[in-house]
C-alpha cells in the first residue's frame, strides 16, 4: 500500500453489466446516411448497442446495479455513485431515483459524477478512497448521441456497468491510482445540446489520446514502481479501432496485454466504457493478475488492480459475455432515429394526449412506483401488489397486517398477453400482459425487449426498470417497471 493510502485491502467485490437488447449494424447506418457522408464507409463494420425507446442512462444504470445482486447484498450498500454524461435530469436527483429503484436503504449516501468521459473511473477512485463505507456501488452509464451521418453516430454505443467496492470478499484489490485533469476539449456538449460536438479527429488523436493516456499510465507505473511489462492487461477506451491498436504500439504492449476495445460489438459506451472493458478483463483474469485501467476524457484516471483468489467465488463471472450474446437486431434506421428522439412522427391525437403526472402521488406511493415493493400478508402469507390495507386473498381479508415485499427481484410467468395496435406506443404494437410471480402475486405490466411472435403463455419473465413516458411539455419522465423475457 502507498503512503497515505488505504489501511485494509480495498477493492472490487462484485460487478454487474447491462447492455441494451438492441444492436444496430453500422452497415444499416451507412446505407441510410452514406449518401450524405461517404466518409463513414470505413467505419461501417460491426454493430453497436442501442437503448430501447424506454431506456436512458438512469434505467440502464439500475439494470447494471441489479446485476450485482448475485454477489452482494443490497442491505449492505451505504453509498451509491452514478457516473454519466447523459443523465436525464439536471435538477432532480438521478442517483436518488436509482437508489429507490435498486431498493436501497433511504439512508444511502448518493452522488453523481458527470461532465466528462472519465467520470466513471473518477467515481471508482472516490469509492476506493472511502474506508468508512462498508459497501459502495458505482454505476456508470451513457447513451451519447451523435448527429445523423456523423462519426460519433457510428462509434458511440449505449451501455452501463456497476461495480461494488468494499473490504470483504475483494476480487480485485486496488494497488494505486493516478489522475490527470486537462481542459482538452475533444468532445463537448453544453446545457442545451442533444448531440456531441467534436474538434478535428486528428488533433484529438495526436495531441490528446496518444499523449494523455500514456502520461497517466506512466504516472501510475512510476508511483507503483512497476514497468509496463509487469501488467497483465491494460484497459483503455478506443477512439477508433485503428487508434486503439496504434496506441497499444506506442505503449509498447504485447498483443495479449491489450484488452479488446469492443467497438465492433457494442461501440464506445462513454463514461461506462473503461469499466465495461475492465469487467471483460476480470471475466478472464487469474488470481495474481495485474490489471491497469485508464480512462480518457478531459484528462485521464489510471487505476491498478491485483486480482485475488476470491474472484473464483463469484457466482456468475461471465456477465459481459451473457450481455454480448443476449441481443436482437434493430433493422430499421428510422426506428433508431425515433427511439433517440430524432424523428418527428405523426403520433396522432391519441398519442398527443398525455395525462399530467402527480409528483405528490409518486412520492406518497414511492414504494410501489419506484421500488416495486408491494406487501405480504402476515396472516395468510399472500404476496400482493400494490400494497393495500385489506388483504386481497378472499379467504383472508385481514386488515393492516401487511409487511413490505419486493417484486423487482422476483421472476414470474406470463399468464396472458396481447399486442395492442390501438393504444399509443413508441414501438407499436404495445405489448402488455399479466404476470404471476414465483412465490405468489399477480400484476399487469408492459412487456419490453420482445416481439409478439416470441411470446408464449407461461414463459418465464423478469422485471426491468424503464421510462414509461416522457412528458416534454411538463419536463417529467415517468419511470416504472416493465416485464422482459427471462434473461437471468
Amino acid at each position: 500500500m502507498q503512503e497515505g493510502g488505504i489501511n485494509k485491502m480495498t477493492g472490487i467485490t462484485a460487478y454487474g453489466v447491462y447492455l441494451p437488447y438492441y444492436r444496430l449494424k453500422r452497415e444499416t447506418i451507412f446505407k441510410a446516411m452514406g449518401w450524405f457522408n461517404p466518409g463513414i464507409a470505413g467505419q461501417a463494420k460491426g454493430e453497436k448497442a442501442i437503448a430501447n425507446y424506454d431506456e436512458d442512462s438512469l434505467t440502464m444504470a439500475v439494470a447494471a446495479g441489479m446485476d450485482c445482486f448475485t454477489d452482494i447484498s443490497r442491505e449492505k450498500i451505504n453509498t451509491l455513485y452514478l457516473a454519466s454524461t447523459t443523465l436525464p435530469n439536471k435538477e432532480r436527483g438521478n442517483a436518488s431515483i436509482a437508489c429507490g429503484a435498486l431498493n436501497l436503504s433511504p439512508n444511502t449516501r448518493v452522488a453523481e459524477f458527470s461532465g466528462c468521459l472519465k467520470s466513471g473511473t473518477t467515481a471508482l477512485i472516490t469509492a476506493l478512497n472511502e474506508p468508512d463505507s462498508e459497501l459502495t456501488m458505482i454505476t456508470a452509464s451513457d447513451c451519447r448521441l451523435g448527429k445523423a451521418g456523423g462519426t460519433q453516430e457510428q462509434l458511440s454505443g449505449d451501455g452501463a456497468v456497476a461495480i461494488a467496492v468494499g473490504n470483504e470478499g475483494v476480487i480485485a484489490s486496488l494497488v494505486d491510482h493516478y489522475s490527470l485533469s486537462y481542459d482538452f476539449a475533444d468532445y463537448r456538449r453544453m446545457e442545451s445540446d442533444k448531440f456531441t460536438r467534436s474538434w478535428e479527429e486528428r488533433w484529438i488523436r495526436d495531441a490528446g489520446y496518444f499523449k494523455i493516456i500514456p502520461e497517466a499510465i506512466k504516472g501510475l507505473l512510476t508511483k507503483c514502481g512497476l514497468q509496463i511489462n509487469d501488467i497483465t492487461k491494460v484497459v483503455y477506451p478506443p477512439l477508433s479501432i485503428r487508434d486503439h491498436r496504434d496506441l497499444a504500439k506506442r505503449l509498447g504492449l504485447k498483443p495479449d496485454q491489450v484488452q479488446p476495445h469492443l467497438i465492433e460489438s457494442i461501440g464506445n459506451t462513454g463514461s461506462a466504457h473503461p469499466l465495461v472493458m475492465l469487467i471483460a478483463a476480470l471475466e478472464e483474469a487469474q488470481p495474481g493478475d495485474k490489471i491497469l485501467v485508464a480512462s480518457f476524457g478531459s484528462g485521464s484516471d489510471a487505476l491498478l488492480f491485483e486480482v485475488t483468489e476470491d474472484i473464483k467465488k463469484l457466482k456468475n463471472r461471465n456477465k459481459l459475455k451473457k450481455n454480448l450474446d443476449y441481443k436482437g437486431e434493430l433493422e430499421n434506421y428510422t426506428k433508431y432515429l425515433s427511439f433517440k428522439g430524432m424523428l418527428a412522427k405523426e403520433i396522432g391525437i391519441r398519442g398527443e394526449e398525455l395525462t399530467p403526472t402527480s409528483l405528490s402521488l409518486a412520492w406518497r406511493e414511492q414504494n410501489a412506483v419506484l421500488r416495486l415493493v408491494g406487501s405480504k400478508c402476515k396472516v395468510c402469507g399472500t404476496p400482493q401488489y400494490p400494497s393495500e390495507r385489506i388483504c386481497i386473498n378472499p379467504d383472508c381479508g385481514a386488515v393492516d397486517q401487511m409487511e413490505d415485499y419486493s417484486f423487482s427481484d422476483k421472476t414470474g410467468h406470463l399468464f396472458t398477453y396481447t399486442a395492442d395496435n390501438l393504444t399509443y406506443s413508441e414501438d407499436p404494437p404495445a405489448l402488455y400482459g399479466i404476470v404471476d410471480f414465483e412465490g405468489g402475486g399477480r400484476y399487469w405490466f408492459d412487456l419490453t425487449d420482445c416481439r409478439l411472435e416470441s411470446l408464449e403463455v407461461g414463459q418465464p419473465v423478469q422485471m426491468t426498470f424503464r421510462r414509461r413516458y416522457l412528458d416534454e411539455v411538463r419536463s417529467v419522465a415517468g419511470y416504472f417497471w416493465k416485464v422482459m423475457p427471462f434473461k437471468g
Binding site: 396522432g348 391525437i349 391519441r350 394526449e353 395525462t355 403526472t357 402527480s358 402521488l361 409518486a362 406511493e365 410501489a368 412506483v369 399472500t382 400482493q384 401488489y385 400494490p386 386481497i392 386473498n393 378472499p394 399468464f415 396472458t416 398477453y417 396481447t418 399486442a419 395492442d420 395496435n421 390501438l422 393504444t423 399509443y424 406506443s425 404494437p429 404495445a430 402488455y432 400482459g433 399479466i434 404471476d436 405468489g440 402475486g441 399477480r442 400484476y443 399487469w444 405490466f445 408492459d446 409478439l452 403463455v457 414509461r468 415517468g478 416504472f480
Partner: protein, 400 residues
Amino acid sequence: MAEGIKNKVAIIGMGCTKFGEHWDRSAESLIVEAFEEAVADAGIEKKDIDAAWHSTCFDEVNVGKSAIPLAAALKLPYIPVTRVENFCASGTEAVRAASYAVASGACDIALALGVEKLKDIGYGGLPDFSQLRGIYNRQIFPNVTAPGQFAMMATRYFNRYGLSPEEGKRTLAKISAKSHANGALTPKAHLRKKVDVETIMNAPMIAWPLGLFDCCGVTEGAAAAIIVRADEAKAFRSDPVYVKALQIAVSPEEEYRYNKWDGTHVETTYRCGVRAYEEAGIKNPREEISMMEVHDCFSITELVIYEDLQISPRGRAKEDVDSGFYELDGPIPCQSDGGLKSFGHPIGASGIRMIYEEYKQLQGKCGERQIKNPRLGLTHNLGGFPANCVIGVSIWGNEL
C-alpha cells in the same frame, strides 16, 4: 335472500334513436328523440314523470357532469334527476335506480335515459384510458385499451382449451358474423351489413388475436325507458314488460391481483347471473331463457358470456357456436338486433338499448327478426375489463 324486484315494476314505454356517427347532431338532440319516442309509446306526458335517472359515462367530454344536461335538454320541471355512471353498465344502473324508486313507492312514474356522444374526441376507439381509474393507475398500470384487455382473455382461453389461433379466431368470427347478419335486419343499428367469416378472419389486427370485426364500434345514441309499478302497468298499455331480475355485481379485483382467476372467464358475470336467476326464480337458464342481448363489446366477450351465464358448459361454448344455438332461429337467439357488434356502444345508452330490443321482442314488434313466442329476455352489461368490472344483468318477461 331478500324478496327482490321480480314482478314489482314494468316498462310501459321505450325509445331508442338510430345509433351511428351523428356528426350533425348534439347529445341533447339524441336525448329529446329517445324521450319523445318513449313518452309517445307509454301514452304519457312529460308532467306525469316524477323522477329521472340519466346515465352517461365518457360523455363528460360532451354533455359534462351531473344530471343537469338531461333536465335542461328535456326541460323537466324541477323534478329529481340523478346522473348515474358505472362504466358500460351505466344504462342498466339507470333502469335499476328508476325501478327501485317506483317499487318503493317513492314515485309513481320514473324515467331512465342514457346517452353517449363519443365521436367528438378526434380519434377512433374510446377515449384514452390512462386516467380512467385515477392518477395512481396512470403510474403503475399499462396504458391499456378495451380491445387489449379482452384480447388477453382470448389468448388465455385459446391456450387453456387447446384452440390454435386459427380455430379460436374462426369460432369468434362465427359469433361476429351471426351478429352482423342480425344487425342487417335492424333499422336502428349503426352497421347494417352482413359480413362473412373469411372477411372477419382476415381483417386488420386491433389487439392480437382480435381483429377489426371482433370489436364493436364506437358510436352515438340515446335510449329511454318509462317505468311504473307492475300492478298499474295495464292501465297504460295492454302489453307491458315486467321485470324479473335486475342485478349488479362489482368485482373486488381479486381476479386482477390474486393468482386464482384462470383468465378464461368473467367471474363477475357468473356471480351476477347466479343472483339474477335466483331473483327471477330460474332454475335452468338453458331451458328457460328465450333470448339474450349481451355485452358483446368483443367477440371473445360474448363467447365467455355464454359460459358465465350458464347457457353453455365451461369450455364448450364453441360447440354451441358451431351448432347455431345462438343464431336468430336457434334455441336461444343472442343479439337478435345485432348487439353492440352492429349497434356500436354509446356507453350510457347501451344497457337501455338492450332492454329496448327485449321489450320489443316480448311485444312481438320486431318484424323480420322477430323471435317466435319469447317469454323471458335477458340483458347483460359488462363495464370495465374481464378482471375488474361492473356487471349488470336484467331479465324481463311479458307475463306477470
